[in-house]
């Protein structure tokens, strides 16, 4: 099946520097519809009915999140667009920000209308600093055309912490604090930024909003599987002939993306969802890409037969140990232990006892960590132990 461009329909079509070229292709019509013909409740109901789930990795139903913030009491509500695309191997949001900033702004404005927010933030990853002027120009042009209509949209830049892509740490960072995971409840929808009701959505989630408002929930929910509606944008990289950004309907098999679109050969395994994502071996390549099976934020990294599994998992864990915020015990200490154990296996100095300990440690980290980083950090270890156990056992010191 070829690509299906819903989120990316304007990319490479419009001139991302000129709002007029966006307006000519039907831009901001969804915003007019949302503001002119719909109540906030109707907007959130439409999003709910569409079945849209968050594209940042966790897959929380977007409409339910919006409804929570809409009905929560609070004088100042906030919309945050999470553009801290820090997951290893993702670059789809960068592509969207470069090629179609206007639809994103439209999505943020509709979100603001839905929950009754007057202030929005785009939290831009530090490494995307070069996009700051481009994005600010898009906001200024939208403002000039009168689309902001009293809504204030500001860009906040990160300073290079992976953890600040996690929603609670991101809000700490906007507040000017050290970016660390908060415990929940309270959830951001009732007590988020500065203790006010806040929705925080991924770039791609917000890109889906204008087409849903314009074409209706039924049109959107025809695409995808029962619990995964719509399309998904993937960033495919690694041992492939054609790396890049691809958008396909949810539920499509991984094989289609990896072998047909990106033209990978001699695939050994695929890491889906970046450093905290899952690892699938070649014989699981027919797994559907959906929330029911495996998805994440859309990073698909392909490794061919020449790659060493332990090396990849070790480097993944070193990254997570480096990027853990250090607040909770399981993540701070656990990622360090894992990185050190994997280093031993990498050098051929592992022991079977340590493999058993890794399993106990993984379980504790998944169950007790404060945020998604610590909970998902053992994924690569557990998956590689399941599918490539021989690679570990062959590295046990004799």
């Amino acid at each position: 099946m070829p690509q299906k461009r819903v989120v990316l329909k304007n990319c490479e079509v419009i001139d991302p520097k000129r709002i007029d070229s966006h307006l000519e292709s039907g831009g901001f019509k969804a915003l007019s519809k949302a503001r002119g013909e719909m109540t906030p409740e109707q907007i959130t109901n439409e999003v709910k009915a569409s079945g849209l789930r968050g594209r940042g990795g966790a897959g929380f139903p977007c409409g339910i999140k919006w409804d929570g913030a809409r009905t929560a009491p609070g004088a100042n509500k906030y919309v945050i667009c999470n553009a801290d695309e820090g997951e290893v191997g993702t670059f789809k949001d960068r592509y969207i920000l470069e090629k179609d900033p206007f639809t994103l702004i439209e999505g943020i404005l509709i979100a603001g209308q839905a929950i009754g927010a007057k202030q929005g933030y785009i939290y831009l990853r530090a490494e995307y600093h070069y996009l700051l002027d481009h994005l600010q120009s898009a906001i200024d042009q939208a403002k000039q055309k009168g689309f902001l209509n009293g809504f204030s949209l500001e860009i906040r830049e990160g300073v290079g912490a992976y953890i600040c892509g996690e929603e609670s740490a991101l809000m700490d960072s906007i507040e000017g604090k050290r970016g660390e995971a908060r415990y929940r409840p309270p959830f951001p929808t009732t007590s988020g930024l500065w203790g006010q009701p806040t929705i925080i959505n991924n770039v791609e989630t917000l890109m889906n909003i204008p087409p849903i408002i314009l074409n209706g929930a039924d049109w959107f929910s025809q695409m995808g599987t029962e619990r995964s509606k719509g399309t998904k944008v993937f960033s495919v990289s690694g041992d492939v002939a054609r790396p890049g950004v691809y958008e396909i309907v949810l539920g499509s098999p991984l094989r289609e993306l990896v072998e047909e679109l990106a033209m990978a050969k001699d695939v050994k395994m695929v890491q889906i969802g970046g450093a905290t994502g899952r690892i699938l071996p070649y014989d699981k390549l027919d797994t559907p890409l959906a929330f029911e099976a495996v998805l994440g934020a859309g990073a698909v990294t392909v490794y061919n037969e020449s790659r060493d599994v332990i090396d990849i998992v070790h480097r993944t864990m070193e990254f997570l140990a480096e990027e853990s915020c250090g607040k909770c015990t399981p993540c701070r200490q656990g990622t360090e232990v894992m990185a050190e154990v994997l280093d031993k296996f990498h050098k051929g100095e592992g022991s079977l006892k340590e493999l058993q300990n890794l399993e106990a440690l993984s379980s504790a980290m998944m169950l007790s960590s404060l945020c998604g980083l610590g909970q998902a950090a053992p994924n690569a270890v557990m998956d590689s132990l399941q599918y490539f156990r021989n690679d570990y056992e062959s590295r046990v010191a004799k």
């Binding site: 912490a161 953890i163 050290r178 660390e180 908060r182 415990y183 409840p185 140990a321 480096e322 990027e323 853990s324 915020c325 250090g326 607040k327 909770c328 015990t329 399981p330 701070r332 200490q333 656990g334 990622t335 360090e336 232990v337 050190e340 300990n357 106990a360 440690l361 379980s363 504790a364 998944m366 169950l367 007790s368 960590s369 404060l370 909970q375």
Partner: protein, 226 residues
Amino acid sequence: MENKINLTINGKEVTGRPGMTILEVARDNGIDIPTLCYIQDLPPIGACRLCVVEVEGSRTLVGSCHTPVAEGMAIQTHSPKVIATRKVLVELMLASHPDACLICDKANICELRRIAADLEIGLPRFRTRKHYFPVEDENTDMVRDMSKCVQCRRCVIACKSKGDEPLFGMAYRGFDSKVIHGYDQPLGSEACEDCDACIDICPSGALRKPRRAGEERAAKALIIKG
């Protein structure tokens, strides 16, 4: 409006009031959940994770010190899953902790050691590098040995010494994160005001009073099992 919340803890029906945490209700009912970062009357920190409990319907365990009770909750505070997780957490703390209990000033009153004994933990299964920081002993009221810190952050929130500007803060990330003073400077001779708030609640040997020769220990020894 009904002002009571009904729930079960370990199969026993108990009640709490709105706003109470699972930990508070459990302790009111004589159930002991270990904590290292929680301090009564101060806002919960949620860092140590030792107080995790099983709540029916929840994918992960939840921190009892910061999770409010809700009607109909079914909680297990000492299920095998919970105990196994707590053991790993304490072993992780011990793994990077100096093996200095024999000569540690707080050895007999150490909360970390007591919790390890309660959970019947011997030598930790895990090995990591240890923290090594020079002992900060210039202050006349407090000796700070950050090698022994378990990063509970009690001292960070408890410090009253400078009002709006507490003495301690957090710095660095991951395994390298550390409770710091100023811009990670050693505690100088004039840093604090001798209220002992942080020393009294430090669960390990990281903060203590300078001991003068011949002086008796203030606190009663904890019973060390096993």
